[in-house]
């Protein structure tokens, strides 16, 4: 019983972390049609900025400042890079972000070196939150879950209840009309892209100290984020949320269950491949994903 409960909690918290990572990507994709390959690199930037700020000032300032910094960088990149490429088509935009991912990673190597950096969980958040029978559940995990849910709620509110959110949604399908109505559509896109990267940065601040902050961190989470966006449905935030929870729990339980599969391979060995398998199957039979509104 303890085992099942603990694993469920683990699965949910892992899933929520994945949601934090992929929310920004889904947002940018659904609103701008750009699949940002460099999203995981912004996650990495957020973690490194947070490390730098938290060692000089503290964790809580870092929680606010780092995402803003990353968002600002994202806006600059949109203004001076992505906008130029936009006229060459979606493939070019994709490839631009692809190249960008390499460049950001090299820049991080140059500034912070090639080893892991000591970005630690702040002492007030370090410790057990509660105990399930004999297992402890760390405070920090609870904090991660909280931030993740808060992210979902606030994005949803911002998009559907605020004025700017409605403008953004309109600009998605009818950019010319919205522009004719007097809104600055290119600036809206810049804000959206910046917002997406800021979310990635926030995920980096939260995730960077729980998991190691090192130069390979972007490459290790990159593919899984894409799987989530695709499985959840390209264009749907709710879909991404469900997909994150689904994949988080699937991964956790696949590891936990010691089933023997074909050829002496155990379920736990296959666990990381499962999300890709799910993605491929889903794409073949239901290309819009679980809740998507477009095929992309």
């Amino acid at each position: 019983m303890e085992f099942f409960l603990v694993q469920t909690l683990n699965g949910i918290s892992y899933g929520l972390l994945l949601f934090m990572l992929s929310s920004g990507l889904t947002l940018v994709f659904s609103l701008m049609g750009v699949l940002n390959f460099a999203h995981a690199s912004f996650y990495m930037l957020g973690a490194y900025f947070a490390y730098q700020i938290s060692t000089k000032i503290g964790f809580w300032p870092a929680l606010v400042v780092a995402p803003l910094l990353v968002g600002a960088i994202g806006m600059l990149i949109e203004r001076w890079g992505l906008r130029q490429v936009h006229k060459h088509g979606h493939v070019a935009e994709l490839l631009f972000t692809f190249g960008l991912a390499y460049l950001i990673e090299e820049a991080v190597h140059l500034v912070w070196g090639r080893s892991a950096v000591d970005y630690r969980v702040p002492p007030d958040l370090d410790g057990p939150l509660f105990s399930i029978f004999t297992s402890q559940y760390p405070i920090y995990r609870g904090f991660m879950m909280l931030v993740s849910v808060a992210m979902l709620v606030s994005i949803w509110l911002a998009l559907t209840r605020t004025r700017i959110g409605l403008v953004i949604q309109a600009a998605l399908t009818h950019p010319q009309t919205v522009e004719a109505l007097g809104h600055n559509v290119p600036r809206v896109f810049m804000l959206v892209f910046g917002g997406g990267t800021a979310l990635a940065g926030l995920a980096g601040v939260i995730g960077g100290n729980a998991f190691v902050t090192e130069p390979g961190m972007a490459a290790s989470v990159g593919p899984i984020i894409f799987v989530i966006v695709v499985v959840g449905g390209m264009g749907s935030l709710a879909g991404a949320f469900i997909a994150s929870l689904l994949i988080g729990c699937m991964q956790t339980f696949a590891v936990a269950l010691d089933w023997n599969l074909v050829g002496g391979i155990k379920m736990s060995q296959v666990a990381p491949v499962l999300p890709y398998l799910l993605m491929v199957l889903l794409l073949i039979f239901r290309p819009t994903g679980l809740m998507g509104t477009r095929e992309g």
Partner: protein
């Protein structure tokens, strides 16, 4: 009796290419130079096969290394079997085995992936690429784990004294296969299949109306493309005598994408140029500077933003101008732009090298760039290179405006003349 004029241009171009393939290994005959040529030849085949999907079929794939890698794995096992005497087969024809293996996997994976197009196809290919990469590490019995499968290419009876021991023999093998593959893939673009692939790329709905099943066209195009990818894989196996999980990795898939794009997706010769430049960056440049990945990334991003048609597009754009014999007017602006670009590049290289040297632990901060040696800790070199870079960029801005103005004028004239 039909009279067809001799297409001299075609003979000259193909003949020149054949000549280059023949002579290059003799000119660049050092061990390292030969291995670079071999890798360029292999990459050319790989990139051309990739462009069959992207440029001709409009299918962006993030997992093309799957076909070349799996082709390489089957080739390496075949080569090991030949070595053990299980069956006799000339090593010269091993790429055929690789090609057929690639083709088989193309049929297997292609059937499911080509049912969708566009971004969906791209993401499925990404998923399959990651899956195959993970599976390769999970089944060490066949795939050799992360150490891969090793082999020896010197097996069987030497044919006319060719054992493939020395690198130059392998180089000529690759040259022959490369040339034949280029001819074959070019011929394919001239067939109805090739043309329909273009049609499916540009306007699938209309292609359906004309009576062709777009899924079938894409499927066949992918299968043929994976054949050539397998050929490239087998040649890589012969060259390195080792095949490992790297051959199916997402990095390889990304690499061929970058190479093809740099060269130019819309043109047949684009991937050929791209492959040569890419191998130069990755293999040669990495020996000279630690910043090679940064340079490659910057180069790629610049290409995407300013020249999405690749290097080939820049070269081929000049042809109408050459034909109209007005290239002379562009010569000076081009030269100015090139000079400005070189100056900016020199400034950039200086700064990048200094940054990299400072970030290196334990290395002396004195470095030698363009024959000048200086200490990266002091300020003067920074100011110097920054000024050079700035000057170069400013000059480039003016020069490119000049080029733009002249180019516009010429284009207008050409248009007027045509009208």
């Amino acid at each position: 009796m039909r009279y067809e004029p001799l297409n001299l241009g075609r003979w000259v171009i193909w003949g020149a290419m054949a000549l280059v393939f023949l002579v290059a290994p003799l000119v660049f005959s050092g061990g390292f130079a030969l291995t670079m040529l071999i890798q360029m030849g292999t990459m050319i085949i790989f990139a051309l096969s990739y462009n069959m999907l992207l440029g001709q079929g409009g299918m962006l794939s993030f997992g093309h290394a799957v076909y070349s890698g799996l082709g390489a794995f089957l080739s390496v096992h075949a080569l090991n079997l030949i070595g053990k005497g299980a069956f006799t087969f000339p090593v010269t024809l091993l790429p055929l085995i690789g090609g057929l293996a690639g083709l088989a996997f193309g049929v297997l994976f292609g059937y499911v992936t080509t049912r969708r197009a566009g971004t969906t196809f791209a993401l499925i290919s990404l998923g399959i690429g990651e899956m195959v990469f993970a599976c390769v590490l999970m089944f060490p019995g066949f795939f050799g784990g992360e150490a891969g499968v090793s082999t020896n290419r010197v097996v069987g009876q030497p044919f006319l004294g060719i054992t493939y021991g020395p690198a130059i023999q392998v180089c000529y093998l690759v040259a022959v296969w490369c040339f034949l593959s280029i001819v074959a893939m070019f011929a394919l673009t001239q067939t109805p299949l090739g043309r329909m692939a273009n049609a499916v790329r540009d306007n699938p709905e209309r292609a359906e109306f004309v009576g062709y099943d777009t899924q079938k066209v894409r499927f066949i195009q992918l299968v043929l493309s994976s054949f050539f990818a397998g050929v490239a894989g087998a040649l890589s196996c012969i060259n390195f005598e080792i095949v490992s999980a790297e051959n199916v990795s997402p990095i390889r898939s990304g690499g061929v994408l970058i190479a093809t794009y740099i060269g130019g997706v819309p043109f047949f010769l684009g991937p050929i140029l791209g492959a040569i430049i890419f191998i130069f960056f990755v293999v040669a440049l990495s020996g000279f500077t630690k910043a090679w990945l940064l340079y490659l990334g910057l180069f790629f991003v610049t290409m995407v933003v300013y020249a999405p048609g690749g290097i080939a597009s820049i070269l081929l754009m000049q042809i109408p101008v050459l034909r109209a014999r007005r290239f002379g007017e562009l010569a000076l602006p081009y030269a100015l732009a090139a000079a400005a670009g070189l100056v900016a590049l020199a400034g950039l290289i200086g700064i990048v090298e200094m940054v990299y040297r400072l970030s290196e632990q334990g290395a002396s901060t004195v470095l030698n760039v363009f024959g000048l040696s200086f200490d990266a800790r002091t300020t003067p070199p920074w100011i110097g290179f920054a000024l050079v870079l700035a000057a170069g960029l400013v000059a480039l801005r003016y020069a490119s405006r000049l080029v733009g103005a002249r180019w516009g004028a010429i284009q207008q004239d050409l248009l007027a003349r045509r009208a």
